[in-house]
């Protein structure tokens, strides 16, 4: 049986992991390479690296780091942040990324999804959407969640999948950072609407939230989180043992 994936997400700025980390036993807690190896060795099913750098120097540094990470870990690696063109796809895929996630770049230029899927295959293109309720309607936000695009989220996600996105990451702005659980209502609607894997993001505060997620939405494929893993609040091995005990299939 296919397992539910647990995915830590690392934000990288100027070659360093930001938001800090709090592990014991890691010499350099903000080195993307040592963190990636730590997660890879400790049961992460996949890693997401997000480039939040704005400058060209930072981007070059990110690309460099990515090559080092990709030659260190042997699990799937998804890269996002600053992906606006096919050249950006090319740049990160050449470094060893397996999948590329597009967000604002696809909002600005929706044909990017189809062009990338055609060139690199659907499995390579991940549509990442930041979604927030506005007057009771799910809306897509751009620019790291700062700008309401006015687009209805489920329609936008369906359009992205039709164009060739092979996976969808749904980040609920409403639950992000609140640590009160994933946005089950929003995620359920996305799962009902598309037939490609859906990855839940935003709101995980503890092990129970993952159990709730996979129980409530049997068709969801993965749970993504950042700070609870980085700060050692949840160890991936503990999380997986608990999911296993609850009868949820995981790789251990």
């Amino acid at each position: 049986m296919i397992t539910k994936r647990i995915i830590p997400c690392l934000d990288v700025k100027n070659g360093r992991v930001v938001k800090g980390v709090n592990f014991l036993g890691l010499a350099d807690v903000s080195s993307p390479v040592s963190l990636a190896k730590y997660y890879s060795d400790n049961g992460a099913d996949e890693l997401v690296f997000y480039d939040i750098t704005a400058s060209a120097e930072g981007r070059a540094l990110f690309t460099d780091i990515l090559c080092q990470v990709a030659s260190t870990i042997f699990i799937p690696l998804t890269v996002g942040g600053g992906i606006n063109t096919l050249e950006d796809f090319d740049r990160v895929l050449k470094c060893g990324a397996d999948k590329v996630s597009v967000n604002s770049g696809a909002i600005r230029n929706p044909s990017l999804i189809g062009e990338a899927a055609k060139r690199y295959g659907d499995q390579c293109v991940v549509l990442s959407a930041d979604v927030k309720r506005v007057d009771g309607v799910f809306r897509v936000f751009a620019k790291g969640g700062r700008e309401n695009t006015g687009m209805e989220a489920i329609e936008w996600i369906k359009r992205g999948v039709d164009a060739g996105a092979g996976e969808v990451v749904v980040n609920s702005i409403d639950t992000d950072g609140v640590k009160n659980g994933f946005d089950i209502e929003m995620l359920q609607q996305v799962c009902n609407a598309v037939s490609v894997p859906v990855i839940a993001s935003g709101g995980a505060g503890g092990i129970d939230h993952f159990t709730q997620l996979f129980r409530a939405i049997p068709t969801i494929d993965a749970g993504l989180a950042a700070s609870i893993f980085h700060f050692g609040e949840v160890a991936i091995s503990d999380l997986k043992n608990e999911l296993y005990k609850q009868g949820i299939p995981v790789r251990r």
Partner: protein
């Protein structure tokens, strides 16, 4: 030396890194002589079967890979590279494979009921027949590996070296003597995957 065949599809960086990680001397090459002098050959592949098979033929390397495999040199096909070991593929039309292992590639959706997501993406468990191929000697029944595919091997029951379950039984690996194919990605399958690559290097 392990020669990874570069015929212009996909990025072979991670694959090379994973062989280096298990202590192998691996090169990425499009040179026929290098393939002939290598101890073992790895045939990778991503994308569509028709395109990839054409590129492999046009590069002239299809013939070399076939000859070397027939001489008994260990050959490992990965993902689309595994699919190309078979005789045929029905991915958008009908395409010729290398024909090193009997069988045909068909859409997963013809094997499994509706309601399962396609592609089959993620970590799934391997199941082995009674007689395990030596490349899987360090892999346990039920160990997980990483899959990304929408098509799989059919009519290859006699040469199925591992299966996985996804609404039905899918072909996860094929093997015929020195020719082995993994539908999953050993280079993305953590320690289990690396153990397969290491066992291949030791064949």
């Amino acid at each position: 030396m392990i020669a990874i065949v570069d015929y212009g599809v996909g990025n072979l960086f991670s694959l090379k890194s994973s062989f280096l990680a298990v202590g192998a001397d691996a090169v990425v090459t499009r040179d026929a002589e290098t393939l002939r002098s290598a101890d073992k050959i790895v045939l990778p592949g991503v994308g569509a079967f028709g395109d990839a098979a054409k590129k492999l033929r046009d590069s002239g390397l299809a013939q070399v890979v076939k000859e070397e495999a027939k001489k008994g040199k260990p050959l490992l096909g990965i993902c689309l590279g595994m699919q190309m070991l078979l005789e045929k593929s029905y991915e958008y039309g009908e395409h010729e494979g290398l024909g090193l292992i009997p069988g045909a590639i068909r859409p997963i959706c013809e094997t499994i009921p509706e309601g399962y997501k396609i592609p089959h993406i993620g970590w799934n468990a391997l199941h082995f027949p009674a007689q395990k191929h030596p490349v899987f000697q360090n892999v346990k029944e039920g160990d997980h590996v990483y899959f990304v595919h929408s098509f799989h091997g059919t009519d290859c029951a006699d040469f199925t070296a591992a299966t996985t379950e996804y609404g039905g039984i899918l072909t996860a690996a094929v093997a015929k003597d020195n020719v082995i194919g993994c539908q999953f990605h050993p280079e993305k399958s953590g320690p289990v995957g690396l153990s397969i690559l290491k066992a291949f290097c030791n064949l």
